[in-house]
Assembly symmetry: C2
Homo-oligomer: 340 residues x 2
Amino acid sequence: MAVVVDFEGSRREGAKPALDQINALVADDLVKVNQVIVDKMDSPVALIPQLAGHIIAAGGKRLRPMLTLASSALCGYQGERHVSLAACVEFIHTATLLHDDVVDDSDLRRGQDSAKAVWGNQASVLVGDFLFSRAFQLMVGDGSLRVLKILSDASATIAEGEVMQLMTTNDTETSEAAYMDVIRAKTAKLFAAATEIGAVVSERPAAEAEALESYGMNFGIAFQLVDDVLDYSAEQTKLGKTIGDDFREGKITLPVVLAWRRGSEAERAFWRRTLEEMDQREGDLEHAIALMNQHDALSDTIERARHYGSIARDALGLFPDSEIKGALTGLIDFCIERAY
Amino acid sequence: MAVVVDFEGSRREGAKPALDQINALVADDLVKVNQVIVDKMDSPVALIPQLAGHIIAAGGKRLRPMLTLASSALCGYQGERHVSLAACVEFIHTATLLHDDVVDDSDLRRGQDSAKAVWGNQASVLVGDFLFSRAFQLMVGDGSLRVLKILSDASATIAEGEVMQLMTTNDTETSEAAYMDVIRAKTAKLFAAATEIGAVVSERPAAEAEALESYGMNFGIAFQLVDDVLDYSAEQTKLGKTIGDDFREGKITLPVVLAWRRGSEAERAFWRRTLEEMDQREGDLEHAIALMNQHDALSDTIERARHYGSIARDALGLFPDSEIKGALTGLIDFCIERAY
């Protein structure tokens, strides 16, 4: 599952000021979050910091913790609780990545060897469990039952979403509604929790917590939709990343759902052979992309992403204009522009 | 990892009144715990209750939740919180079993097909994650930060213990101290948390919480030591269970540690071939058992278990005599007598 984008790579393209902007605004806090992450992934059991360090240090731009920091800033938060809670969000995310690599049997993660490729399935499962437990220890240390509820609910929903995804894998008849349920649960719910926490630590009114939760949820959906497009997109290869991971794993994402629904019976036979029977031959990925383009499946998936991005933008309407609000809306544009 | 004994099987032997006694004392509460378990393992994602039901319904006698219920009774607790917390303990245990089966690549669990044999590694990892999250949701529902701390600390320690066990697997030079660290973390810590919770919900003084925590920890160590003996014991086969699982998986348990330390260089070569190089041939298990008997490795492991059992018994000295106290000490005897 390729939910994390190498923003460094994107930034080298020189066209992503939105990300630079939000990065700059939360940079000091992000340094503190990284310190908490390094401190808390430690254990006398040496393999744990080794393996956790591999995945945590190697990748991503801490998008989810950045959302917690930015949401807190949007709410005018002045304390320090958001730092450990942002680390906690990243731990939950990292635990799911470690388990995803086992579930997907992926040897690559963010262009590098995955933890499971280096240390095996066993260690990846167990260190994932450790990071997940650490996340709860961090929350308990924070001491807010409301935050604990938000994040334990999110964790259960993520697990449900991952199981749903497992059940739709290889099922070419998966509906758009079922696909949306999967990505809301497995991806967007943690984005929503990450942003809602910003309002909660700031003790803002329920309407603002709800607005930030809606921003996170809808931004998360848009993010995953674009990610699913990128897995079939030449843009991805420009960033030095491989394409076709979802195809090779038989995952049913929205581009497939749309191409299948809009396709002829002969085309459906192709999708069944490649994604249900997993009988994939040379040229099949290229043919899949051609079919998607023929049916506007990729561009319409981006249109769907725009729709959720608009909802996310409007959710922030409640907050007065500010630099941080501009950065949060800019993040939506950045996310969608990745697809081009 | 064979930490769960089929008490039903044992009871059919007709020689285990201690277990019947404790069972009878907490029977009403245990019915409620089972109801919470059934209710809370439910999910709109059908595979989750299917898989969770398979492992939860199939096995064990709810030893850990029974410890929470009995400890609460020992403290004179009158409320209902112990019911959902006992269910929570069982969920954490079940989540670790599901992940253990993936880590150990076990196709059998309690004499039946393991979940991973039926549904595969992927679903077992993810449903384990779900049950683990559910446990935290239950704790959050209970609302005690102290209980949340006890169980989140236990969860992190269990994961550390499992990773430690992974690192000692195939390492015949594992010391007794390292082995003890593994079983304290992977097994005994959850027993200790289960019993400590009884005092915490009852709002008993710190000394009683500490006494119950010590009972659970030392009983848990004794339990695991006997379990490790049973894996090489003919007694086990009388219960219709296989022996030699640990041997086949290259796990280093105390009987191996003792036999290796007491053995000749030629014997150590045998252990290295079978457990490090994993070159196992017909008759090797029988030869391993013969070496263990020759060096009193099995009987002395039971002696070690007796030692921890005595500490557990004395920890309860703080509490006045009662039927439930008799049942808790009887449980120690039952645990050790399993070995004969």
